[in-house]
Structures are given as structure tokens and as C-alpha cells.
Amino acid sequence: MLAGTVYISFLGAAGMLLLPKGSVASARIFALSTAVAAFAIALATFVQHRTGEMLTVTRVPWIPSLGIEYYLAADGISLTLILLTGIIAVTGILFSWNIEHRTKEFFALYLLLIGAVYGVFLSYDLFLIFVFYEIVIIPKYFLIAIWGSTRREYGAMKLALYSFVGSAMVLIGLIAAYVVAGAKTTTLGDLAQFSFSLHFQMLAFPLVFVGFAILAGLWPFHTWAPTGHVAAPTAASMLLAGVVMKLGAYGCLRVAMTLFPLGLGPWGFHIIGLGSWRDVFALLAVIGIIYGALVALVQKDFKFVVGYSSVSHMGFILLGLMTLNQIGLAGAVLQMFSHGILAGLLFAVVGRMVYARTHTRELAMLGPMDLNNVIPFAAITFVVAGMASMGLPGFSGFVAELMILIGVWRAYPILAVFVGIGIVIGVVYIWRAMQSAFFSDARLESSPTETPLPPISFPERLGAIILIGASVLIGLYPQMLLNIVIPALNSPLFTGLRKGSWQ
């Protein structure tokens, strides 16, 4: 049944093109109902499937001569992310209710993107994962290039090329792994059982890991993220930060780390204190956390603040993966969910509620508009989202970051200090943005007779409430996700990782 999420989204995308020309309302409704239907399936499976173990959805031979299978399966980790995709997909459509220009095409590409994302999370065959992973690139490009804002063509092309370079690296690793294993199978589980030589894993692991991590915003390969997020229309930046970056992190965990667990082991020598790829990537992740936060601190553009905060938060996920202990890994998966929700919410406030009304994102210009009184709902939402993003208890971000921090404390006590600094800077940049955008003392003295800003519409309110609700729900009762994530981490797929350097 879970496979329906993919099919419904793709069919919805195709059906969108058949709708009568020029009817904007029907396109919106149709897109929303498609996304809701897919989400309902995801939710139903989530409710039914409480153990987190591998659940085979479909398994048929696809290209028998190469041993490639059409193999869809879900465990607790993928189920969590599928749920996230469903939530973001639905709210993204709610927040793009104002798209009037080429509406049908917009939603067709949007649904295509969603379907491919579901596909990546559901695939259990390497070839299939890769196929869905690459389908994501093209709609992403067009969503930004056609409907975007600031430097959209540059941002879109940069994003597409970075993604494609990343997936090229992944492809090299996958083909090499397939040929070396020589078993004529691309099933993830089978390949993960194969013991590749240490030498091979040491080479293949960083290649595939970085290939995926480019999409997860690993410093210094993150530069596509801020420009891409800023250029994208609201729904696309929600998707980008909310789920597409998670694709990268998911690939790191699901493919790179399970296939080549020995690649995480020590090199046997040290270069400037680094003794393994694991150390290298942990260090890069921490640099990403602090760098992203510092750059967010000095941005003049509201959306860039959120864009760089994404880089910072994605650093937490990658760091959580590199802790290689259960609490750190589970925290990373939880952070994927949490950041997906919160980044979606932040981008919705900045892009839809504020920018679509004021047509500016300059913090200095927003301040005098007295947005706190003009659109109070936006201000409240941003305060809540900001608090959640800072990691205040009661929201999902708190639990996730706490778990990662504990994991890091066990694995890299020194780095934990820097992570703490990163969290503090996180508080500061959110505070600064909140202050200068919504609660600034500066007042507009001239031209008070501008046309009043339209009030926050119902779809926007609904979307914001869903996202806040999800974050609070997980923040108050994280077991809901952890109950299925932890058994998945203990499943046979991760045996190699556990045997290798799991602590």
C-alpha cells in the first residue's frame, strides 16, 4: 500500500497536465487532494506499523540480466521520513495557494518532485534509489528557475549542477561496488552483506558519502543551499530544506554507511589529528554548524538567515551520523524530521507570509513596517518557529539536538563544546532576525498611506498550525518516532556498522 505514495504523486503530476487550461482553483484543489491522499497512506502505514522493522512493499525483478530489482521496502527510518515528506508536501501546497503564473505546471512539477522523494525513501535497491534520486533534480531546477525570485536562474543552475556532481560521485561508487561484488544484485541488503576489501571501502566510502552529503549541505559543499533556498519559491524552498536535503543525509546513512562500514574505521595514521574519514566528516559537520550560524548572524536578507540556519542544522544531522552510537544516530534521524518541519515553517513565514506581501526581504526595510501589528499571525508563527529552531524544550528540535549532543559527548567530547557554541549562536541569530524583522523600534515616518498588506489567509494559517503541531507533538512525545527508528537501527542492515565501530 505504501507504494501508493509514489504512484499517486506521479499520477497526480500527469493528471495535472490534463486539467482544463486556465483554471487555477481546480489545479490547486487537485494538487492538494493528491498530496493529502499520499499523506494519508503514509500516515496509515505509520500508525499500523509500530515495530520499525523492514516492511517489504513490492519486490519484482526489473532488469533480470543485471539482477536489478524493483524493490520497495520501508523500515522505521524511511517511514519517519516518508511521514515528513507527506506533511511538507501538504503544507507546501497550502503555502503556494497564491501561485497564479503557470499554476498547472507548477503543481505538476511539484508533485513529480514529491513522488520522486517518496521513491528514494522507499527504495531498497541501489539502482532504484539512484533513479529516484536523480529524478528529483529536474523538477527542482524548473521550480526555481521559473517561479523563483532573486537570481533564480543562477541559483537553479547551481543547485542542479551541485546535485548532479554529487550523484555522479555516488554513481561511480555504486557501479564500482556492483562490479566488485560481482553477485549480479543491486539489492541494498545483499550488497551490505558483501565484505568489500578494506582498501576498496576506504576509497569508496568518502566518494559516496560526499556525493550524498553535497545534497545534505556538508561544509564546504554547502554553497548551493543558501542561494538555492533564497531563489526558490516558497513551496520549493520548503521542499528543498524540508525533504530534499534529507535525501542527502538519508543516502549517507542508508547507502554510504551501510555499504562501506569499514571506510569509517581508522586509517592507521594521523594527519593534523585526524585519524579516519569519520573524524574528517565530524570535523566538517561541526565547522558547518558554527560557520552556518555565524554567517546567518550577519545576513541582511531575511531569507538568507533561514538559508544559512539550514546549513547549520544539517551539520547536526551529519555530526549525529558520525557519532556512530545509537543515541547519536537516532538523534540524527529525529533531527532530520525536526529540521524538515521547522525549516519548512521558517521558509513559509519568510517567503509566503512576509515576502509575498511586503516584496522585500531586507531586514532593515522590514523593521519599520511594524509587521508585528500588521500581520500578527506571521510574527507569532515566527516566534514559535524560532523558539523551536533554537531548541527550546517542548519542541522537536530540543530532543533531537539533545540526543545528538549526548552522542557527540560520548564520541568526541571536545567537539561537543563547539556544538554547544553553535547552539548559542543559533539562539542569537534567530533572536536578531526576529527582533529586526518584527519587533524593531524604527518606525516608518513617511508615506503611511501605502496599500495595507493583505491579511494572512486561511490556507497559510492551516499550514502553519499543522507544522507547529507536528513539531510540538514530537517534542512532547519523541517516543512516537524513536519507537520505530531505534529498532530499524538495530536491524541486520546496520550489522556491518555495528560490528565495525559502533560504540
Binding site: I63, I146, M157, F164, L171, I172, I175, A176, V179, G182
Partner: protein, 492 residues
């Protein structure tokens, strides 16, 4: 020397005979009965007849698959050659469909005749393992293509391209013939198998080295691999759209199949090794160099093109580079990968030229700016175009992606354990990441840019829409279910 069994000869060559007879009939009918009708009618009748003939030949190949070897490899038939010939005929039919709306010539009968004659040349090329027959059919193909290139007599560009093509082609034919003559001298035979057994030896004869190099130059020219590519951009740009489509698709399929046969069968034993760690003299390192050069030059130069046809020409050079990797690997599996790749590539290229033909006749050019905002005026054509372009770029689930995947897998599989060709595969994958940039630039014009007012309206004729949809459907279907094509490739 055994006596020639003419009955059997006729039987094996029947598909080719059918095509020749139809070609002559088409010309006669056009000459005697259709002169006073409009161009559309003449093209429709001629192309219809010719397609029927090709379909007849396909039926013959499918219904009576033969296994024959006449006159010691002069003419052979086996499931593999049958498959290639069917693919060539299908491509010819599609080319004929694309040419239906053409207005560049009044000599309809001659045009269709030349296309069919070129097809016959390609079919013989695929069905022979004898140097003489190979050379003659290659000349038959080339001469027809030269004329097809220059067929638009009103366009100086077309004539210039034809002249350039002819001069380069003549030179490369000389090289090829020189190489063949050396081979004959070395082995005292024109049969590829005999040549292979004659040149076996612990070390390479210097004459053999010359033969290898000159042969590689001769065929490298046909497949437009760098540095023998100079004709390609001009021909792609100057030739009438259907001719360019034919050169870019059908002739590529035949030439690559021939290239593989020549190298893997004729030069078996002299392949050497192109593995980076231990390069051994032979033809594999030579071709690996050519492949490297083609991938680099094709992809990098394509970035700078402003004309879609020239862009396609350089991308064709790049694709030739990818496909050469399969020849360097020269295993049965890589042959299958090569065939899958070149056939699906031919479909996509045909499609792109089909769209170019429509846009060009209405806007008067093939500059990228002529495609600005096409998606708002011709949504179906634009959709098909994006399928073709993305397939060329190697985006799944389109055929181009599986082609690349399979090709690279088979190349790495060629030397089990050592992965000697990894460097070529890495280069190819890196270069295909570069290629996405210029392919996306084309799509950006179509979907993102807004249409300028003076660019004018674009009508999309129903027939070309149908043909394009058919091709786009084929590219998608073969990408989603590669098995449909793979199971016909008998080498597996």
C-alpha cells in the same frame, strides 16, 4: 573456392533487395506520376511507399531469421546482424516521417531514393565480415550521405557542409583503404576471422600498428570521434534537418557496430590493454585516447555553442567518446551495452532533429534564442524535446541513463578484479555531469525564457507531434523497461 549458390545469396540478401527495389520504384513513380502534385503529396506518397518497403524488409528479417555465412564471410546473417538491420530500418522509417513536411527540395524521388540507398549500404555494412564488402558498403553509405547533406541547393551552407564532408570523407576513406591493404598484405585474406588468426603473435608487427592507426582514423571519422570530428559541426548545421537526423542516428548505429566488429573480431589478439596501471600496446589504448579526447572536447566545446545543431554535433562527439569505451572493453556484454546505447541515442537524436525541423521552418533558424518560450506555444513538442534532451543528458528513468549505466558496468566488468578501465568510466561520468549544464541551458530556453514578440507563432503539425510522441514514448519505455530491447540482443 566454392561455387556460388545464387539462390541462397538472394535469400540472405532479400531484405536489402526489397529496399533497393522499393527505392527504384519510388523514384520512378515520383518521376512519372507525381510531378504535377504538391510537395506534400509527393513527399507523403514517396515516404509512405519507402516506409512500406522498409517495413517489408523488417518483416522479412523478423519472420525468416537466418543463419548464413556466404562466401566466407562476404555476407553473413545471424540474430545479431538481424537486430542491427531491423534497428537501422526502423530509424530509416522514422527519418522518412520527419522529412514529410520538408520544403527544401523539389527532387522528392531522388531524396527518398538516396535515403534508401544509404540504408542498404548500412545494412550490408552490418552484415559482412569481409574487408572488401565493408569498404564498398561504407562508400555506398558515405556517398549517399554527402549528397543528402548538400541536398538543399538554395542554401550555401548546405553545399559548404557537403563539400567539407566530402573532402574529409574522401581522406578518411583513403586512410581506411590504406589500412585495409596493409591488413591484406599481412594476412593474405580479406576475411576478418582469417586476419585475426594471421596477426596473432607475441609482439605487434610495425605494419600492423600502422594498419590499426589508419583503420581507427578511417572509422573514427565516420563516428565523429575527436580529433576526426571537424566535419560534424558543419554538417549538423548545414544539412537539411532530415539528412542531419539520418547522419546523426542511422549512420551512427551502423558505424559503431562496424567499429566494434572490426576491432573485436578483425584485430582480436592485438588489443593490448588500456588499463591505467599497465598499458600494453595495441588498439585498446589508441581508442582509449580517442575516447578521452572526444569526451573532453565534445563536452567542453558544446558549452559555448549558441546554435542548437552545433551543440548537438559536439554532444554527438562526446557521446561517441562514451560509446568508444564499450569498444575498448570489447566483451560480449559491452557489445550489448553499445547496441543498447547507440540505438536509444539514435532515437533521442532523431527526436531532437524532428523538433528542430519544426521550429526551424517556422522561425527560420536553430539558434538557441529561437527556442525561447517554446513550451507556451507548442507544449507537446516541448515536452517531447525535454524527454529527448534529458535522455541525452542521462537522467533516469529515460533510456539514456540506463544506456550509460550499462555501458559503464560492462566496461568495469571487462577485466574482472582489476577494474582497469575505471579511469575512463570516472572521466565519462564526470563529463556527463558537465554535459547537464548545456542540456539544461536548452531546456531553460524552452521552459523558462519568455517568448519575444517578434519571434512569431509556432504551429505544431499533427503528424510531427505524433512522431515525436512515439519517439518520446520509446525513449521513456526503453528507459523504464530496458529488458524490452536487451532481450533481443542475442549476445547475452
Amino acid at each position: 573456392m566454392t561455387a556460388i549458390n545464387y539462390g541462397q545469396l538472394l535469400q540472405v540478401a532479400l531484405p536489402e533487395v526489397i529496399v533497393v527495389v522499393v527505392a527504384l520504384t519510388v523514384m520512378a513513380i515520383d518521376l512519372f506520376f507525381l510531378r504535377k502534385y504538391t510537395m506534400r503529396v509527393r513527399f507523403a506518397v514517396a515516404a509512405g511507399l519507402a516506409s512500406t518497403g522498409c517495413a517489408g524488409a523488417i518483416l522479412r528479417l523478423l519472420l525468416a531469421p537466418g543463419r548464413a555465412n556466404i562466401l566466407d564471410g562476404m555476407l553473413i546473417a545471424n540474430p545479431l546482424t538481424d537486430l542491427v538491420q531491423v534497428a537501422l530500418l526502423v530509424l530509416t522509417i522514422l527519418t522518412l516521417f520527419i522529412s514529410l513536411d520538408s520544403t527544401f527540395t523539389e527532387h522528392v524521388g531522388e531524396y527518398v531514393l538516396l535515403i534508401l540507398v544509404a540504408t542498404v549500404g548500412m545494412m550490408f555494412l552490418a552484415g559482412s565480415q569481409d574487408l572488401l564488402v565493408i569498404f564498398i558498403s561504407l562508400e555506398l553509405l558515405s556517398l549517399s550521405l554527402y549528397i543528402l547533406t548538400g541536398f538543399d541547393k538554395r542554401s550555401p551552407q548546405s553545399s559548404e557542409a557537403a563539400l567539407k564532408y566530402f573532402l574529409f570523407g574522401g581522406m578518411s576513406a583513403a586512410f581506411l583503404l590504406f589500412g585495409f591493404s596493409l591488413l591484406y598484405g599481412l594476412s593474405n585474406s580479406t576475411n576478418l576471422m582469417h586476419i585475426a588468426s594471421a596477426i596473432q603473435g607475441p609482439s605487434l608487427n610495425p605494419l600492423l600498428v600502422i594498419a590499426i592507426v589508419t583503420t581507427a582514423i578511417g572509422i573514427g571519422f565516420k563516428v565523429a570521434a575527436a580529433p576526426f570530428h571537424f566535419w560534424a559541426p558543419d554538417v549538423y548545421q548545414g544539412a537539411p534537418a532530415p539528412s542531419a537526423a539520418f547522419i546523426a542516428s542511422g549512420s551512427k548505429v551502423a558505424s559503431f557496430f562496424l567499429f566494434f566488429q572490426l576491432m573485436a573480431v578483425g584485430f582480436a589478439g592485438a588489443e593490448g590493454s588500456a588499463a591505467l596501471t599497465h598499458v600494453v600496446r595495441g588498439w585498446a589504448p589508441v581508442l582509449a585516447m580517442v575516447a578521452t579526447l572526444s569526451m573532453l572536447l565534445g563536452n567542453l566545446v558544446a558549452i559555448r555553442q549558441s546554435s542548437l545543431r552545433r551543440l548537438l554535433a559536439y554532444s554527438a562527439i562526446a557521446h561517441a567518446g562514451y560509446m568508444l569505451i564499450a569498444i575498448v572493453a570489447h566483451t560480449q556484454e559491452s557489445l550489448a551495452a553499445l547496441l543498447y546505447y547507440v540505438v536509444t541515442y539514435a532515437f533521442a537524436t532523431l527526436g531532437v532533429f524532428g523538433v528542430i525541423a519544426v521550429v526551424e521552418t517556422q522561425t527560420g533558424g536553430d539558434q538557441l534564442s529561437h527556442f525561447d518560450g517554446l513550451s507556451r506555444q507548442a507544449p507537446v513538442l516541448s515536452f517531447c524535446m525535454s524527454i529527448f534532451i534529458l535522455s541525452l543528458a542521462g537522467i533516469p528513468p529515460l533510456a539514456g541513463f540506463f544506456g550509460k549505466f550499462y555501458l559503464f558496468v560492462s566496461a568495469l566488468d571487462a577485466a574482472p578484479g582489476s577494474m582497469g578501465l575505471l579511469w575512463l568510466v570516472v572521466l565519462a561520468i564526470a563529463m556527463s555531469a558537465v554535459s547537464l549544464y548545456y542540456y539544461l541551458k536548452v531546456l531553460k530556453r524552452i521552459y523558462v525564457a519568455s517568448r519575444s514578440v517578434e519571434a512569431g507563432e509556432i504551429r505544431s503539425p499533427i503528424l510531427s507531434q505524433l512522431v515525436m510522441l512515439l519517439l518520446a514514448g520509446a525513449v521513456m519505455l526503453l528507459g523504464c523497461a530496458p529488458q524490452l530491447l536487451l532481450r533481443w540482443i542475442p549476445v547475452l
